[in-house]
Point group: C2
């Protein structure tokens, strides 16, 4: 992509709404644009990062048997009355009426909709277990949102739901899913701590959050050297580790994922049943597993940046290479662009602006690898390669890239 | 994908809500599931078709300079008041309030949001022209919806918006986009007729619809041998072609795409301006271009089916190959599956049900190519290949597939 064609406008000023570093950089670098409080547009660069995160998640979920579907945003009130959550869920649903005066909520989570889908389609133990997931817009009527993507009112979420004949099968799949969660976050460049969590208005007895340590985090977690970890909500008041009585450490963290063993919470009230080998009717055991994509993206920025801008890990960098023509014959840079872009995702800064502006903007945008073409490098038949995460650049010959 | 693992339940019965053939087959064959009137879940097979349609559209739009973004579903009332459409748009918006009593509409189209985005980011003629598009949920508070995906209240839409310095540039890009539209629909297996259309509450003077002839269509078009075509809304009452005075023919059709030369309709009221070479402030000229993805999918079914089920064109078939083990050594079929699935998208019917059921279901689902493994074919070291669109199968040797 030639930067002269890219719909991009960066800014040197910190935006008013940016109360955290990821908001500041994502807005300034032209990844997102604010439409309303907690409601953002993903611009071309931002959408590319989002798609890379999506694809990391898809690939890992497909490996453990996930099947992708797409459920609606409009949820009929009647379904949420069945589960008893129409009034109870926190934060509350956005609610609206259609022209026939029928009421709907905008989906903030999809347990009701998927329970309805599954009860219509599963009848025997032979159809179990299975796992369905979607990447879909979610809406939460939050009282307040942060600047940027950490707490929004409209956001893309991956939500997976697993269905099992018994608790044991749910538990063993839950283990597998939590392992997959570690892999997903690792691949995005996030070190996560898995902690015991409250299941809130989603429900179930066993629940874990996947936390990334960060001063920006709105959650407080307690961790112990013995491996125990929990959200402070769960171990409130404790000074010693409930597992080994050791001294616990408190930290601020961002929740990037949440998993729940729902058990029969929904299947009981919504009658999601199957017949076992003996023909006996039983409740399906459910698990559910969420990752907010925008929040994951913002969290990557919270932990991967310096004072000049974002430092994207390769796996989620909007482009792999930022090719910059600084000086000298532009035709040479054009040639390198043609060559490189046959093999890699390349953003090519072909604009007629100053070298200083180009380099400062490249640091702000934070693409993983920077390749600079200048009078000097052309003379030597080389280019200058610099990783955004490193300070030193090195000259490499053209045939080596 | 092994069919024994696929979340799929087909049905032999015509569903109550199916008032058209695509609704009947898409529901019976397990592509979609109805949640509420005009609100559907895409099941695994259905989502695969949707993604193929998405990718055809993306590829063609990227060729003519389209840049993908993702705009929100929640639109602040204040923006729609600027354009004057908050009360006027037809069908009306779904409206709701947040906890702070601020009003929002669910986006049914995104002219207001994109005009706001562009006015914040474009100031000079140097930044023009450009084209942004998204594939995003849309919501229309329709009085009535059809069964299936032809007229829904929540649906995925590709909407593109182009921005130009003057009318001439808009007109020439509009030409390019309409050519691209023909290519997009051709690639999906749809023959479209481009007709003059009313621009309704979207606006602008020049507007075209892309129509597929079908008895199920809710639109009436008039076409003439001279090449003239229009929606009946536009040429109402005419008996002779307004272009050549020839006799016109009336037909029922489904609208699968709609393009508009908006001109300065939105840029005037929302002040989307740029400075030209002389530094003079001018209004940006806009075009907008929509394709409903679910409706396109249903239209493919309306024109490609027989009495047994769907006949997907290869380009949008959920899988390219439906491998079916009918009889004989299952290990042989497993081997063929392993081999084929390294190169192609394969759905493998490995289930332990009768041959008749398998073949009937395969016809209903309608995957483009069917490969059958049976006792007979194994003996000859061959498989039976049959295109869903053809009657005759042929035996081919294993190394040839």
């Amino acid at each position: 992509m030639k930067e002269s064609k890219l719909f991009l406008k960066t800014s040197k000023e910190k935006p008013k709404e940016a109360d955290n570093i990821s908001a500041e950089f994502l807005i300034r670098a032209g990844y997102i644009d604010k439409l309303a409080a907690g409601v953002y547009t993903f611009l071309p660069l931002g959408l590319r990062v989002l798609r890379k995160i999506e694809n990391i998640i898809r690939k890992e979920l497909d490996k453990i048997g996930g099947e992708e579907i797409l459920m609606p945003v409009l949820h009929p009130k009647v379904l949420w009355e069945e589960s008893g959550r129409w009034e109870k869920i926190d934060p509350p649903l956005f609610k609206l009426k259609d022209r026939h005066n029928r009421e709907y909520g905008l989906g903030s989570t999809h347990e009701e909709v998927i329970s309805d889908l599954v009860r219509k389609r599963v009848d025997s133990y032979k159809g179990l277990p299975f796992v369905l997931y979607q990447i879909q817009n979610k809406f939460r009527n939050e009282m307040r949102s942060t600047g940027g993507l950490l707490r929004t009112r409209e956001f893309l979420m991956k939500d997976a739901y697993s269905f099992h004949a018994d608790k044991k099968d749910l538990e063993s799949y839950y283990e597998e899913m939590t392992k997959t969660y570690h892999q997903i976050f690792n691949k995005m460049g996030l070190n996560v701590i898995q902690v015991e969590a409250s299941s809130g208005t989603i429900g179930g007895k066993v629940s874990h959050e996947f936390m990334v340590l960060s001063e920006t985090g709105e959650d407080n977690i307690v961790v112990c050297e013995c491996g125990f970890g929990s959200n402070e909500e769960v171990t409130i008041g404790d000074k010693n580790c409930p597992k080994c009585q050791g001294i616990i450490k408190k930290d601020k963290a961002i929740e990037v994922g949440h998993t729940f063993q729902l058990g029969d919470k929904y299947s009981k009230v919504m009658k999601v049943v199957y017949r076992d080998k003996e023909g006996k009717e039983k409740f399906v055991q459910m698990g559910c597993y969420g990752i907010g994509l925008g929040r994951a993206m913002a969290t990557v920025v919270e932990v991967h940046h310096d004072d000049k801008g974002i430092i994207w890990p390769e796996s989620v960098s909007p482009y792999l290479i930022h090719l910059i023509h600084l000086s000298g014959d532009k035709k040479k840079a054009d040639e390198i662009y043609e060559k490189l872009s046959q093999k890699y995702d390349v953003l090519y800064d072909d604009r007629d602006i100053s070298a200083g502006e180009k380099l400062a903007e490249a640091d702000l945008i934070g693409i993983a690898k920077r390749v600079v073409v200048s009078e000097k490098t052309i003379k030597e038949n080389k280019v200058e390669l610099k990783l955004r995460s490193e300070k030193e650049a090195k000259l490499i010959s053209l045939d080596k890239i």
